[in-house]
Symmetry: C2
Subunit: 334 residues, 2 copies
């Protein structure tokens, strides 16, 4: 079996660490692991399969000899390094939003449109975390009947904003538990402990945020539904890990809740009830594992052919790191 030299770009961040964990847990055929990060983290040791790998600085010349680069850095850095990665002959599986809307870059959720990955020209994009979780839940329904519209409201965990988001919530909770005022945050626009914040990303001209528009724009590419329309509201909640999404979906033909549940239960990467004896999942149920958990499937009351449902998934794992490693697995199988 062929083995691959794999670099993880942003190896010390919340998603990068999960990528290394996923490579290990899923027994990806790694010949050599190269953890790359900023100069600040260079020299740190990261354990991988019982050995230690030294973190190197993510310089443009760092990619020589690599077969696959898993990217967990921001869009600006991804754009800057992408030409160097592809010039070195590696495939760049990028978790940033830099390339997601470029027509020649496949945007892939392996359970849904895995075959798209094979048409890559050196870069494959990993979708937005909430989008991955919602689409894994919706794809089995879309197979029964094309989806026309989705109204989505998210309940997004703080670790979606990286390690800094986690730390910000932890510090605020700790202060409040001592009866002290919560320290002002840097990551979120206002206090997140004991609060919910309906603003993630930046406003676009239509007054949806860029984060909200991803559900429609990336959803279209993943589901191969170019006319899909999504009204999304992204909300940060004081949860450490796992995003949840409340969905109202209108399909072209009628799909009963029973049909939908049956399809979801057969769907790749999905799970339906019971969850710890309950018939709905919560973020705690779905944390630290790779399935998108779905519950509350019922006929909507607003529109013909409307279904309402609720889903939860670990946005650091299936919503980011695991999805990227699954894409690498497609390449390894090809």
């Amino acid at each position: 079996m062929k083995k691959y030299n794999v670099a993880v770009l942003g190896a010390t961040g919340a998603v990068g660490r999960e990528m290394i964990r996923a490579l290990e847990e899923r027994a990806f055929p790694v010949e050599r692991l190269l953890p790359l990060a900023s100069a600040r983290s260079a020299g740190k040791k990261i354990s991988f399969r019982g050995a230690e790998a030294e973190v190197r600085e993510a310089q443009p010349d760092a990619f020589a000899g690599m077969d696959i680069v898993l990217g967990a850095v921001d869009s600006a850095r991804a754009r800057e390094l992408a030409p160097h990665i592809t010039a070195a002959g590696a495939v760049f599986i990028d978790n940033s939003s830099a390339f997601r809307m470029e027509p020649e870059v496949p945007l892939v959720v392996p359970e849904i449109n895995g075959a798209d990955a094979l048409a890559h020209k050196g870069i494959i994009a990993n979708p937005n975390c909430s989008t991955i979780i919602a689409m894994v839940a919706l794809a089995p329904i879309a197979e029964l009947s094309p989806i026309k519209t989705v109204v989505a409201s998210t309940y997004q965990a703080v670790s979606g904003a990286g390690q800094e988001g986690l730390t910000e919530l932890e510090e605020q909770l700790s202060a409040l538990a001592k009866g002290e005022p919560a320290p002002a945050g840097k990551v979120f626009p206002c206090r997140i402990a004991g609060n919910v914040v309906p603003y993630i990303g930046k406003y676009k001209e239509n007054m949806f945020t860029d984060e909200e528009m991803k559900m429609q724009n990336e959803g279209r590419r993943i589901l191969h539904l170019p006319e899909l329309r999504v009204s999304c509201t992204c909300v940060r909640v004081p949860v450490m890990r796992s995003h949840s999404i409340s969905l109202s979906v209108v399909t072209e033909r009628d799909v009963s809740p029973e049909e939908a549940m049956e399809a979801i239960s057969r769907g790749a990467g999905c799970a339906v009830a019971p969850f710890d004896g309950r018939d709905f999942p919560t973020p705690l149920d779905s944390s630290e594992q790779d399935l998108v958990m779905v519950g509350r499937v019922r006929r909507g009351l607003c529109h013909e052919n409307e279904l309402c449902l609720w889903c939860c998934g670990d946005q650091l794992r299936k919503g980011a790191a695991v999805n990227a490693v699954q894409i690498a697995e497609i390449l390894a199988r090809a």
Copy 2:
């Protein structure tokens, strides 16, 4: 000016205490305040306008001489005591769901359908907390054009489940802050600290919960829109106070976000941005005050004539106690 003998039924609970506070803050013309509660609380003292009122047991014969009874007890208890209240000649303003759907009982949000209160036959119902908050935000839009459909996802504070809900979250947060496991809860179906729980109330036959159906069924009566359709998902979040609701609304004719914002800013009981320098409100902004705060108003992307918006309101105050006292004010003015 006429003064009223006012009893508060359930005076020691989360909503009852807010009712007494609202009577005081709003300078309702109280001749005598009678706090009523269970036998367990009888004898406790409650301060009101600098004096102390002794809590009495809520026996059927407790209402003699009362003009108005504000009810903050559960539906079963409200049904049991209602005949005794009306037989004593008092008007029963009931915060439970016992009478909300009875055609001869007005269901009133004073800013919206205050005149309905005057047609009472001894009982006036206070709507569900999330419903009040959503309807205060939606009524100015409904005045511009009738609302056809609403897709709502709620972010409901733990104090919506009363003092026990607050205590349950506080105890869980306190244990987690010490590095101990969160104690199992009694009020919520699973851990609420660091989690969100998409199940409030009990399932109806259509697999919406009774809590979720209130938004449609009570909304129809409040807005005088008997055909209104609402797909609601009610979710508990680890917030102490103030409910938030993400809304997608379809109106009969087109309403621009600018028109909607202008109407909401003029609307009774509403506020629009800025909130602490931001253009969206959070539960912390809207706690301990009486306005429903509205933000994120924008054109939806799914349907013709769709608006998306976000609102927050203190569910113990405007969502319960203050709304009930405002109804009493209508009676006092009549």
